[in-house]
């Protein structure tokens, strides 16, 4: 049966899970729409050039590629934020746009487990907005969305690339060296970071400051610790930004939902400001990921500073299941027509659907039909001359 297998890293979503996924999507759609986000559905295929041209945001070993009829290289959408930035910069003619989407993204590399090659995401992007008020609004909305999804015991962990960039300014590494150090710091691997810095000839305070980064996480006590390390203006501005965001989120009532990690420096090169991840105790991987990307749309001909986030809906479902928060399956009532009463059963079915009841009209009829439906575990409503 080789013709019925699926490639590695992709899955069919079967009815029970699909119903839950649809419910989750509906909840979030209502939330997005009620909060003023306009829906868009970006195209699934993009030119390789489009993506390669924008600060190589996605590395090429992660892209599914194919060749178009004219020989041009196409990719299956590897990152939705890029597509949204392209749409906002080139098609909307607006200076500011708050957009939302539900879309698959594709990643050629599959880690197995919680990572997949086809990832269904819901996300929002706030384009043409600058400043910490916009950042705080975006994080607050992320919290509201996870609440809306039904999750509990989650936190939003917030970092800022400006702090790391500021520390790097002080030591002048090559791009390749900086990327090596970034990878180590993002893993809290101080030993290898130390080795790389030594190789690059970085010593003294500059070295110690970088090596202190992995430990700079926790509550707002990280701010004074971070300030004590450096006078670099870019790094200090990053801490000021975070302090402002902290004040705003606290005043909005989200204090219990946030933590900070200045050592979180994600691989996507387009991030320019805050970064954040949604973490749930019951799941080993983030359910939400976002950040500020002020220069991404520049590659598409328009400067639109922006912030946004995406949620992995499958991961949210896994977390909900582990939290025991998935609703019980509700089977529909099944209407079975008695012999010769098909039209009447159909009218009953229509009347009930119009009332919003969950009901199915069986293709089987009569006593035998009713028995088969009952045997399949459904509650049966016979409709006929005597009912």
């Amino acid at each position: 049966m080789a013709n019925c297998r699926l490639p590695a890293g992709v899955q069919d979503v079967l009815p029970r899970e699909c119903a839950l996924l649809t419910d989750l999507k509906l909840k979030l759609e209502r939330k997005f729409s009620a909060s003023g986000y306009l829906p868009v559905l970006p195209a699934g295929l993009e030119y390789y050039e489009t993506l390669a041209g924008s600060e190589n945001a996605v590395s090429e070993e992660h892209m599914f590629k194919m060749t178009d009829t004219d020989g041009k290289l196409l990719v299956l959408r590897p990152d939705t934020t890029l597509s949204i930035a392209r749409i906002a910069a080139t098609k909307l003619g607006l200076d500011r746009a708050r957009l939302s989407y539900f879309a698959d993204k594709f990643d050629l590399q599959s880690g197995g487990g919680l990572t997949s090659r086809e990832i269904f995401q819901a996300g929002i992007e706030c384009l043409g907005e600058e400043g910490t008020y916009s950042d705080a609004q975006c994080i607050a909305f992320a919290i509201e969305c996870l609440k809306e999804a039904g999750l509990r015991d989650f936190i939003i962990d917030i970092g800022h690339v400006g702090y790391f960039k500021g520390l790097l300014e002080e030591i002048g590494l090559t791009a390749a060296e900086a990327e090596g150090v970034r990878t180590c710091i993002n893993r809290k691997d101080t030993m290898n970071a130390e080795r790389l810095l030594k190789k690059a000839g970085v010593t003294g305070d500059a070295r110690n400051n970088i090596l202190a980064l992995p430990a700079l996480f926790g509550g707002k006590e990280v701010f004074p610790a971070a300030e004590a390390l450096t006078h670099n203006s870019c790094a200090r501005k990053a801490v000021d930004d975070l302090k402002n965001i902290d004040r705003l989120l606290t005043e909005m009532g989200y204090e219990g939902y946030i933590s900070y990690d200045l050592g979180m420096i994600k691989p996507l090169s387009y991030y320019s400001g805050i970064l954040f991840s949604g973490l749930v105790k019951d799941l080993g991987a983030p359910v939400l990921s976002g950040g500020r990307y002020d220069n991404l749309a520049d590659a598409f001909g328009k400067h639109m500073p922006a912030v946004g986030f995406a949620m992995g809906l499958k991961r949210i479902l896994v977390a909900l299941e582990r939290q025991g928060a998935l609703p019980e399956e509700k089977k529909p009532l099944v209407i079975v027509a008695e012999e010769g009463q098909e039209a009447r059963a159909y009218r009953e079915f229509i009347a009930r659907t119009e009332r919003g009841e969950k009901v199915r009209l069986s293709a089987l009829t009569g006593k035998e039909g009713a028995k088969q439906e009952e045997d399949a575990g459904y509650e049966v409503l016979p409709v006929g001359g005597n009912t």
């Binding site: 893993r187 933590s259 105790k281 799941l283 080993g284």
Partner: protein, 208 residues
């Protein structure tokens, strides 16, 4: 409750001792049992003893909050986890080893490298721009050059006695300072910080 994934074999005893010194009740690790999940008597800790290469897998998935595993495995597996501390136990090097003189084999011009660190070996030789044939093995790597299955091996060397007994020598120490590391799941570190951070601090003190 903190869940640990610990490496079986080389590091098992030493890592258990280290954790015990840090106040972890590890008595359950010494019991004769076929149970796969071991819970400490006080109910504060849970342990899985798994193959070293599986430790990063359990920790990345968050099934285990913390793990103890060799740096060699971390280099090979390249998983998305936090590497918190150097435990400074089980020190060894990742080396290229073989006979002191390489025999030229006309029919296989590419160097044949036997290893269980397939990803690391591929990366190493591709960085050097060298064409090699990687021969993946799972154990007794030293047998490969002895039987002419390979020209060299790429493996961890602790004392070098197995090499010596078979007439092999270390040709190059590629990665030195390979020791056991304490690794953490990226989410657990943040969401269970009240339990995990004090323990990490204690381990840090103990190995300092």
């Amino acid at each position: 409750m903190i869940t640990f994934a610990l490496s079986k074999g080389r590091l098992a005893t030493e890592s258990a001792k280290l954790l015990a010194r840090c106040g972890v009740d590890t008595a359950v690790l010494y019991e004769e049992t076929r149970k796969l999940v071991l819970t400490s008597a006080d109910g504060n800790f849970r342990f899985f003893l798994v193959k070293p290469s599986d430790v990063p897998v359990y920790v990345e998935a968050g099934v285990a909050d913390l793990g103890v595993v060799g740096k060699d495995t971390l280099i090979e597996e390249d998983r998305d986890i936090y590497e918190m501390l150097d435990l400074k136990i089980g020190e060894c090097s990742l080396c290229l080893a073989g006979y002191p003189e390489r025999k030229d084999v006309l029919t296989s011009p590419a160097l044949r490298v036997a290893t269980k660190y397939v990803n690391t070996a591929k990366r190493l030789f591709s960085e050097r721009g060298e064409d090699v044939e990687i021969i993946p093995l799972h154990g007794s790597i030293e047998l490969a050059p002895v039987t002419d299955l390979s020209d060299v091996i790429f493996d961890v060397v602790q004392t070098g006695s197995t090499l010596k007994a078979n007439g092999l020598v270390v040709l190059e120490e590629v990665f030195t300072g390979i020791t056991a590391r304490l690794v953490a799941n990226k989410v657990s570190l943040k969401t269970k910080s009240a339990e995990i951070l004090p323990l990490i601090a204690k381990v840090k003190e103990e190995v300092a």
